[in-house]
């Protein structure tokens, strides 16, 4: 493995964490959006609020990590992506601002109307943001971003594959979130909420699976290079993802509660790495390879050191945060 390949792997590790934890936070917003009127939706919203509040900002930092590693280790790829896909990227940025601000404001703002407006802003932008992020990823996979940058601002991503991947991002976030919330409801002893999110886990799993299947067909016609590798080198990961997804459905249908989170996470992780394996050795299929975009070696060394420090300091700190949060030592209400 070259230094550039290792840096690309680090990029994918960051993307994996963001897909898991950032994705679940977006999903929380989707369930908030669909929870119904103030009275009907009060309890699921309360549960979502409790489990998101202490962790969403830390989870958001994975996005910053991915951006920084991309522009430092592979500057031409970063530049090409941003100069081509600026429309969905700017819309995702807008969504990030509205979502973070809406979430922070809605618990402290004066008056029911203000809280509803802030809450609706949070919930709606929780759906739009991952959709546009997915569209960006889909556009990259389909070869919509030329290595030289400045590709077409619209036709690069308004295609079946990017839009399907956008939908898949929204659905898989909803799926992860619902599964995580099953555990949270169980811990809080709220049996009806547990059943509520079990039902939603199953629906979301089915929808995410449908998007993934449709995405495979679109991949076949729009991103042949990626498709061919996905069903060859990436096949074990595709099978793993399907196994995890179906396994989770089986556990839920039998009324089981274990192991839910590992299966849900496994399904998403396998997709992220399947995408990576299928693109390899390209960052932008099929115009820019990892080695062509790579920064000089000393810069890569910094990326490795930063990653090592992250592994030693950030991951245990995150584990501490999640542990405190899961043991209800952090109050989400304030």
């Amino acid at each position: 493995m070259t230094k550039a390949d290792a840096a690309a792997a680090i990029l994918w590790v960051g993307a994996t964490f963001y897909a898991l934890f950032g994705g679940a936070d977006f999903g929380g917003g989707l369930w908030d959006l669909l929870a119904g009127g103030p009275e009907k939706g009060a309890r699921p919203r309360e549960l979502i609020q409790r489990s998101l509040t202490p962790v969403w900002e830390a989870n958001h930092v994975w996005l910053i990590f991915v951006l920084v590693v991309l522009w430092t280790a592979f500057p031409p790829a970063f530049s090409a992506i941003f100069s081509t896909l600026y429309v969905p990227i700017a819309l995702a940025a807008l969504g990030i601002v509205l979502r973070g601000a809406g979430f922070a404001f809605r618990k402290s703002i004066e008056g029911l109307q203000g809280r509803r407006a802030a809450g609706a802003t949070f919930a709606l932008s929780s759906v739009l943001t991952p959709f546009f992020m997915g569209a960006v990823v889909g556009a990259i996979a389909s070869g919509g971003v030329p290595a030289a940058g400045n590709g077409d601002a619209f036709s690069s991503w308004i295609q079946p594959l990017p839009l399907l991947i956008g939908g898949m991002f929204v659905a898989s976030g909803a799926y992860l979130s619902a599964v995580f919330l099953v555990g949270d409801a169980r811990r809080a002893g709220e049996e009806d909420m547990e059943a509520y999110f079990v039902r939603r886990s199953m629906v979301a799993a089915a929808v995410a699976g449908a998007f993934a299947l449709a995405g495979l067909f679109a991949l076949h016609s729009e991103a042949r290079y990626v498709f061919d590798r996905l069903v060859a080198e990436g096949l074990p990961l595709v099978i793993l993802s399907g196994f995890c997804g179906l396994g989770l459905l089986a556990v839920l249908l039998r009324g089981g509660r274990r192991p839910l989170r590992p299966l849900a996470a496994g399904a998403v992780v396998a997709v992220v790495w399947g995408w990576g394996v299928a693109q390899f050795p390209y960052l932008l299929p099929t115009s820019l390879r990892i080695d062509q975009a790579a920064a000089p070696d000393p810069t890569m060394t910094v990326i490795f050191v930063v990653f090592a420090v992250a592994a030693v300091l950030v991951l245990p700190s995150l584990a501490l945060l999640y542990t405190l949060s899961q043991r209800d030592l952090l109050e989400g209400e304030h």
Binding site: E46, E57, L63, A93, G100, A295
Partner: protein, 463 residues
């Protein structure tokens, strides 16, 4: 390394102006929040420490309130900071393409600090009820360290843009080798980073104190308000004299290493010794109008002697001079003027405290503190105008022009208009939310209970 020939202009002048305005506006908005992220944790921990050590309920209450306010400002700061990292690619793709591998290392390190700050901030903010007193206090200490480390890394990246080093270019201008340590510890980091970190402590100190000064002027003279004024004010007043020393050093370094910026700041038209220092006024090509001139002082400030030669704009090629000299000059004067005023405020406070262990017993002192918060933010903005506009027309001093870096994308003015509206709403709502929190605290209420936006009765009924 010699500067490269300027590449042909890649984008229209209109895009350049729009991108610069958009970047400047979003940065000005974010920088106030980032000051809160850097320096508010230490301010909170001082109150928390006093509360624990002296069993002081008022100090504890202040720490608790400030940490709840920080939950809001940190969230807004996190998203507006994310916008800036998006803007690097959206507005300046050529800059990132050519130099991302060089100065990106500073941001990679910043990422770690930001990560740790977000994690421990969450533990601290949400750990009030269930973590034990001192364990809770210590969970907050990493925020202070990571805030300072994060500010250092980000400012190191900016310092590198002012005094770039630590990279090798090939004949085509492509970066073929880097030296990350040289990038991080470029000469400008040495003064820019401490200048910004101290600025953050000043902004937070005076801003928080000013809120309590307003409360005291409105007759709320309880111990909580007194303490709420004293703790942050002491922090601001300690940071100020150090800041003036660091700033003075920075100005001399800029005179040495960025003569074009310095000449523009000081409105120096002709190179020479015995340079006059102009306070205020308007820079024109026939000299400075309506200023207070102090003969020889500029030369003296640069080299401790009136015989010091200072470079004038006449020795800078016309296409390498910063635009808007009057803006730079007045921004610099406003920053130094406000800093000096805050130093005087600190001296007044320090003297009276030393004599009588009390706040100066006149409403004029409270009025001065009440304006010090906004004044310190104005000084902060002025300092960044000097740094950033003063570097123009370069994005990387001597290597890349801002006009070469800008995007070819359409609709930047449209985006700028949208962002203005968005941030106006964001800023207004944030202030309303913070004021609402303060009103509830005064009324003795806490956060609204129940579901995020369901009626409280419904959630109580269900739970």
């Amino acid at each position: 390394m010699p500067p490269l020939d300027p590449l042909p202009l890649a984008a229209s002048a209109s895009n350049l102006l729009a991108a610069r305005e958009l970047m400047a506006f979003t940065l000005a908005f974010h920088i106030v929040l980032s000051c809160l992220g850097v320096a508010l944790p230490a301010t909170i921990l001082v109150a928390n420490y006093l509360g624990l050590k002296r069993d002081d309920a008022d100090a504890m209450e202040l720490a608790r309130r400030w940490s709840k306010a920080m939950a809001v400002t940190f969230a807004v700061g996190a998203v507006t900071g994310t916008v800036l990292s998006f803007e690097f690619g959206l507005l300046w793709p050529e800059f990132m393409d050519r130099f991302g591998s060089v100065f990106g290392v500073a941001f990679a390190i910043e990422g770690i600090f930001f990560f740790l700050e977000a994690i421990f901030l969450a533990i601290y903010i949400y750990g009030w009820k269930r973590l034990g007193g001192w364990a809770h206090f210590w969970s907050g200490v990493p925020m202070v360290i990571t805030g300072i480390g994060g500010a250092f890394s980000v400012v190191a990246a900016n310092a590198w843009m002012n005094q770039p080093q630590g990279f090798v270019l090939d004949a085509a201008g492509k970066v073929v080798d880097t030296d990350p340590l040289e990038v991080l510890f470029n000469p400008a980091t040495g003064y820019e980073a401490p200048h910004m970190i101290l600025a953050a402590y000043m902004v937070v100190g005076f801003l928080v104190a000013s809120i309590y000064a307003v409360g005291m002027l409105r007759g709320r003279r309880d111990r909580l308000h007194r303490l709420g004024l004293l703790i942050p004010l002491a922090i601001g007043c300690i940071a100020t004299p150090i800041q003036l020393f660091v700033g003075d050093t920075a100005a001399r370094e800029i005179a040495d290493h960025q003569p074009a910026k310095f000449a523009a700041i000081e409105c120096i038209e002709e190179t020479g010794d015995h340079q006059t220092e102009y306070l205020g006024g308007i820079c024109t090509s026939d000299g400075v109008k309506w200023a207070i001139p102090i003969p020889d002082l500029d030369s003296y400030l640069v080299g401790f002697s009136a015989d010091t030669e200072v470079t004038g704009l006449n020795d800078i090629p016309a296409d390498e001079r910063p635009p808007a000299n009057t803006l730079l000059h007045l921004s610099f004067d406003a920053m130094v003027g406000i800093g000096t005023g805050l130093l005087a405020l600190g001296a007044w406070f320090g003297f009276v405290w030393w004599k009588r262990r009390d706040i100066p017993p006149t409403p004029w002192f409270l009025r001065a503190v009440a304006v010090s918060g906004v004044a310190s933010i104005v000084a902060l903005w002025c300092g960044w105008i000097v740094t950033e506009v003063g570097r123009q027309p370069w994005i990387v001093q001597g290597y890349m022009r801002t006009s070469e870096a800008v995007t070819e994308a359409d609709g930047i003015w449209f985006a700028f208009a949208g962002v203005l509206l968005l941030y106006a709403g964001l800023g207004t709502t944030a202030i309303l939310v913070l004021r609402g929190m303060s009103k509830r605290w005064r009324a003795g209420e806490d956060e609204p209970e129940g579901a995020p936006y369901g009626p409280p009765a419904a959630s109580e009924g269900a739970a």
